[in-house]
Symmetry: C2
Subunit: 411 residues, 2 copies
């Protein structure tokens, strides 16, 4: 299977990109080869790496707009949790599928997921062709969050051939998973070479509770039990002490910045300024679409940059380039996938940007336009793992999926 | 001229809306009338009032992405001002036209403008059919910002028949326009019954300089010279004391919240919490597209709400409904136009929202989806002053405008 992307703008040059199977085989001028499929960008589209969403709960799209502008406790306890308790596997299948539709349309080719009914998510991911890391969720107070679930699921999944999918162990947080279960999770992840995906210090209360329970802050506690290494991806990381930042750097953990959700729930501001000079890998995530309420990383790149500028009273606090890097290269590093850049040998996760859209005018700086100009609708074509998922704004079965979802959920 | 919008969702109901000339004549069920034009929403589109951008410098779209992530002083002095000095009337004509294209596509039907070459802007507005308040700019150190310019321009414009256009007097700010010229501007505005559109207390430095120069804060100074009344629209208003807020309330001035620009330039945070309980009309603006870098009020509604939530450490600080109201009803009030709501007798400035787009799923709350779901691309049809400006996502001559602009500016 060979796919040729003709006349596409890469940096300042017009090139052709040859994709064989799932990888970029060649980048050059006037490649005229026999291929199975062609996209001709006619010099009017730019190519960027597919965006990588490093923390989301995608099926929560079913709860988008359900209960807004509430205190976190009320939102969770009165609105979200009672509804989550009634979710079926089929609901999650549809929710994930819809979320993936929104992700593809906004140029996301990989997402790092944490939600229930993991096998339903896997079905949705396979059908839609996107790349994902599916978290096998652990939570002490629910049977579906038990060690047993994780063990059984892992056994079943190991036998499957899942092209674009890998797994993580996803203990929800230090306040919902016991010390014993965290240690078990760590050992299990090590044994199976899995990533760990976890919430960390999203709210101040969480840190205070940890101090009460363990006489240590969350990162200190995790360090003490030998939890931390380069396979850990921590979402939020709002309330970190200097000592905790040092520990996270030493252990090579990846942190996920979730600006919109942190603002919407008023959780706090990610300490970018205190982290940026360190050797810490910072990625970007939308969090779930019930607390964002979008899955677009375009919006996240912009809001993430704006928040750090105002928080630090410094318009130079973060650049468009840095914001873009979080959503591409850094995400790929965190998730251990060979993508996030457009180079020969990398996985072919590519997004084409229509330069004729008004948001791309003028064209002083593509990255600045992508980050700041509200450019989601400039995404025209999406390729993931060498396969075309969206062509000229169109996704196969898009209308059918929305129609079915409306019939199922909007009664 | 009669236009009928059939089967459109208004609130929770499906209705027909009859527009005669520029106004809404009738809203009802199954209106079957002889009309000149019809849009059938088939029950799959919602209708909202056209959005109102209460502060922008639209032709600055020409500088979008030119020089990012710089300190304000360098950005202005090294990048923007030298280029502005070379702008021609034709440049501004094209810049305004492009900006209007972006506004229409993102559901904006009215904008409150402040920029040079006002007659070029008027040409662009007329051709594109949008509604605008064009500011006649005053700035002491440039001939094009003189009293003479304003007088001559007013004389010329008074004789023209300008359907969707009104004017304001736009003294740039208290630090760029002398006391004498401000008093002159006020009297001139009164005599001609014009609005006043001005920057106010955007940066802390501006307030400090005013204290030095006049021994008063900017609002106190403006109060002292009799400048303040309900015809004043002030952009930014970040650095306000309690006393200043009281004065602005007493005088009935409208304030424009410009969250993205304030964040991007790290100017400060609009004191929403201290103002919201008062009888002050708060509107929304994007500021110029060089410091945003978008003209979409969808993005502005979201970022504006998020900023107040995080700033006040309170997820209930502002609701989606309030944010939407700033961009519609409040804007109409500030600009003295009979729109911002969908009612019989109001001007027909309407926007249709495609409910089949993924951002509108599910449909718990339309306003929440509009504000938080990154919904710009759900705008399908735009009607302004009873005329269709965009139909099913298409604007007449859109491609031609972009093509010509690219040929002119992107060499």
């Amino acid at each position: 299977m060979r796919l040729l992307v003709k006349n596409v703008i890469l940096g300042k040059k017009k090139v052709d990109i040859l994709i064989e199977e799932k990888k970029i085989l060649k980048i050059g001028k006037n490649l005229n080869l026999r291929v199975n499929e062609k996209i001709d960008a006619k010099g009017e589209k730019a190519v960027i790496p597919g965006l990588i969403n490093c923390h989301t709960h995608s099926a929560m799209i079913l709860f988008r707009g359900l209960a807004e502008d509430l205190p976190l406790k009320d939102w969770l306890e009165k609105e979200i949790w009672p509804r989550e308790a009634k979710l079926t596997e089929d609901d999650v299948y549809w929710g994930t599928k819809l979320a993936i539709l929104e992700m593809i349309k906004s140029g996301t080719t990989t997402f790092n997921e944490m939600y229930w009914f993991e096998e339903a998510q896997i079905e949705a991911v396979k059908e839609m062709g996107i790349r994902a890391v599916i978290g096998l969720v652990m939570l002490d107070f629910l049977p579906m969050g038990s060690r047993k679930k994780v063990e059984e699921l892992t056994k079943r999944l190991m036998t499957k051939r899942l092209m674009t999918i890998q797994f993580s162990i996803a203990p929800h947080a230090t306040y919902t998973v016991s010390k014993e279960n965290l240690i078990w999770a760590k050992n299990f992840a090590k044994r199976h070479r899995l990533l760990i995906h976890m919430h960390l210090s999203e709210t101040e209360k969480e840190v205070k509770d940890c101090l009460k329970k363990y006489k240590m802050r969350p990162v200190e506690f995790l360090e003490k039990i030998g939890f931390l290494d380069k396979n850990c991806i921590f979402a939020h990381c709002v309330w970190l002490s200097e000592k905790e930042i040092e520990i996270l750097e030493k252990r090579g953990c990846s942190l996920v910045y979730n600006p919109t959700s942190n603002m919407k729930l008023a959780s706090g501001v990610f300490p970018w300024k205190r982290i940026k000079e360190r050797k810490i890998n910072i990625c970007l995530g939308t969090d779930g679409p019930a607390s964002n309420n979008s899955l677009s990383l375009f919006s996240e790149m912009k809001i993430g940059a704006l928040l750090q500028k105002i928080e630090n009273k410094d318009p130079t606090a973060i650049s468009a380039q840095k914001s873009f890097q979080m959503a591409t290269k850094n995400g790929a590093k965190a998730l251990r996938i060979n993508t996030g850049e457009i180079k020969v040998g990398k996985l072919a996760d590519l997004v084409l940007i229509d330069l004729n859209k008004i948001e791309m005018f003028p064209n002083y700086d593509l990255i600045s336009n992508l980050v700041y100009s509200d450019a989601k609708n400039c995404v025209s074509d999406v390729i993931c793992n060498g396969k075309i998922l969206m062509r000229d704004g169109k996704i196969e079965k898009e209308n059918e999926i929305i129609k079915k979802a409306k019939a199922k959920f909007l009664k």
